[in-house]
Amino acid sequence: MKKAKTAVAVLLSTSLLFGCSQKNEEATTKKEETKEVAKDALDGVTAEYREYAINEIEEFVIATEEFTNAVIEGDVEKAKELYAPARMHYERAEPIAEVFGDLDPKIDAREGDVPEDEWTGYHRIEYGLWEKNTTKGYEEYAEQLMKDVHLLRAKVETVEVTPDLLVTGAVDLLNEVSTSKVTGEEDRYSHTDLYDFVANVQGAEEIFNLLKDEVKAKDADLAATIEAQFAQVHSLLDQQKEGDGYKLYTDLTEAEVKKFSQAVDALAEPLSQIGIVTEAS
């Protein structure tokens, strides 16, 4: 969950556009005038990103359905297995997903982020699964989570993706890694923080890849530096692979955690310069 909102996305409409086709949405987006000088060149990019994010949220709906079903059916082991991979879809699309200040905490709040009686969502169920080793009493949370995720899916249609959202979103994803994943505070019961870590990095890389040609055109050195630093972070993550997944956070040494943290800083600093794509050539 995001601690402080940086409202960069614009909601086109407060009413929900259920069932509205994607093409119509793109047309609407294009009608909007923005001040960015390089807007024309970036138009295709924002549309592509929108598609990516919505696709991830759709996957998130499916994965959440499987996860919540397992909870409702009382299958602790299966629920544990599905927990981390399901969250990855959300974490990849976080710049868009967390635009909704009301839904993000309901889905993704950690213990203490919200008053105890309002604490719902993934981490509430995580607590039951790992701390109590049970699903009993958590069925309601599962049902509520599913509702909230469906609502999220409907609402994302209303998000207009602007170049600003992309530029800040990429770094925001890495900031999420720096402030909660690297510290092991995201998945504090399951210790599956590395899954979220990987997903955040993938989400940031998606944005960079979409903007890469633009960045290259403005500053080829910068593009090369960012690529090299992404590769560095990936190689560190690859070292922690275990089967289809990743090692538990608690299995990392202090030195490994520090290395991760510094590698993310080394990547995020040059990545924070991609805003040059909004400058006139």
């Binding site: 600003d164 530096t225 800083d265 080394a266 600093e269 924070s272 310069q273 805003g275």
Partner: protein, 427 residues
């Protein structure tokens, strides 16, 4: 990329950190002048008004780096860095950027132009805007591990490593912690304002991202110039004057003898540089507090209040190491810190230490405080090392202190405008 150097040179001329505020009409003079139309124009077009007021600038360029013989500023912020890049070219580029930024910051400027793109992070982190230069000095050093690490000649510099630039030997009683020991590079920032010093290090570390990471970092303090207008010798946290015996920094020959590396000492690239030893020394404050005044004075070999050698009246009176009291015992005990440190008195070091406090020792609940011992010298093997060997063996002060951190760096020679710090080593 935009032509940074051109932009900065314009920036350097025109806008000091205070000038930024004045141009915006919110700084002291600017705000007042701004009331009249003419004043407003003047404040905008001529930021040099502030230049004349800045008598707290220590020149960055020169034959030697500043921050060594510079009269100690109120605050210290020192960091040791680990180089993560394998590319010598990256390293050279980093030193070039550091040089340019250091020249700007020490003269009271921000590190980059004021970007107008709201989609980019600001070039300067901003916390020193409006603050005076505060006598900021930034001193760069290189450690032994920059040359060879784990047997590997990292940057093709092995042949340039001076014989003196090797890890300090292990001294008796050393209780060094890995996280406070060594480092490939060192940045020492000293200023009369801690925020100014912090700003300098922070921006330099930011530039290093992807090339180097912090290995350890430590702030230090002394009594401020405000608190002590007379500028007498500062006291350490044990209450005693520290730094009474130092080479005369105004004497060129004294500095050549003890501080600056001379031609023929080793590789030429370090001529005009100096070896810096850093020791993080924790003090057992609580234990010291319950020892008697006599015991404390015997520990240092000095009177606490005056700083005078035991048996003498004034701080700078010369010590009588032979004097005995009526019972025949030495007035300055055999184990007194000042006696042991002095040795035969032939080799002095330039001490430039600061006190530190890092809150509480969470293990014991004691205050975590002590001394960031820093000294400069021409040849560690005949200066700091034998001195510390004597101290570690015989110093009575060892009952009250413990060495937790240690590092040796070769502080690079100074640089002239147009060059960069480290050029003699890397070119």
């Amino acid at each position: 990329m935009t032509d940074l150097s051109k932009e900065t040179s314009i920036f350097e001329k025109k806008v000091s950190r205070r000038g930024v505020l004045k141009a915006a009409g919110i700084g002291g003079v600017g705000a007042v002048l701004g009331a009249s139309g003419l004043g407003g124009v003047l404040a905008l077009s001529d930021a040099t008004v502030t230049k004349g007021q800045s008598n707290d600038i220590v020149p960055f360029y020169g034959a030697n780096q500043a921050g060594i013989t510079t009269s100690p500023q109120d605050n210290l912020y020192i960091v040791s860095l680990e180089v993560t890049t394998d590319s010598k070219q990256d390293l050279i580029q980093l030193f070039k950027e550091w040089t340019e930024a250091s020249a700007l910051m020490t003269s009271g400027n921000t590190v980059g132009d004021t970007s107008t793109n709201g989609n980019l992070p600001p070039k300067d982190t901003g916390e020193a805007v409006g603050l005076s230069p505060s006598n900021l000095t930034i001193t760069f050093g290189v450690g032994p591990s920059l040359f060879v690490k784990d047997g590997k000649d990292r940057f093709g510099l092995r042949s340039k490593q001076p014989a003196e630039l090797v890890d300090l030997p292990k001294f008796p009683l050393d209780a060094l912690k890995k996280e406070w020991t060594g480092g490939d590079l060192c940045i020492q920032a000293c200023a009369d304002d801690l925020q100014v010093a912090f700003h300098a290090v922070r921006n330099l570390v930011r530039m290093a991202r992807g090339k180097a990471v912090i290995h350890w970092a430590q702030t230090g303090f002394q009594r401020t110039k405000n608190a002590d207008a007379q500028k007498v010798t500062p006291r350490n946290l044990l209450g005693f004057k520290d730094g009474t015996v130092n080479p005369d920094v105004t004497s060129k020959s004294a500095l050549q003898k003890s501080v600056w590396v001379q031609k023929g000492d080793g590789p030429d690239w370090l001529v005009g540089g100096s070896y810096m030893v850093v020791r993080r020394i924790q003090m057992y404050i609580e234990v010291w507090d319950r020892s008697t005044l006599n015991d404390q004075e015997a520990t240092f070999g000095r009177h606490r209040d005056s700083g005078a050698p035991l048996g003498k009246q004034n701080e700078f009176d010369s010590a009588d190491f032979e004097a005995v009291d009526e019972t025949g015992r030495l007035v300055i005990p055999e184990t007194a810190h000042m006696r042991v440190a002095r040795g035969d008195g032939k080799h002095s070091i330039l001490r430039r230490s600061y006190s530190y406090t890092d809150g509480m020792d969470t293990k014991t609940g004691s205050l975590d405080a002590g001394l960031v011992f820093i000294c400069f010298q021409r040849r560690p093997s005949t200066q700091f090392i034998p001195m510390q060997q004597r101290l570690a063996k015989n110093d009575k002060l060892n009952e009250y202190i413990v060495h937790r951190g240690s590092a040796l760096f070769a502080c690079l020679p100074g640089v002239q405008k147009g060059g960069y710090i480290g050029e003699t080593l890397f070119d």
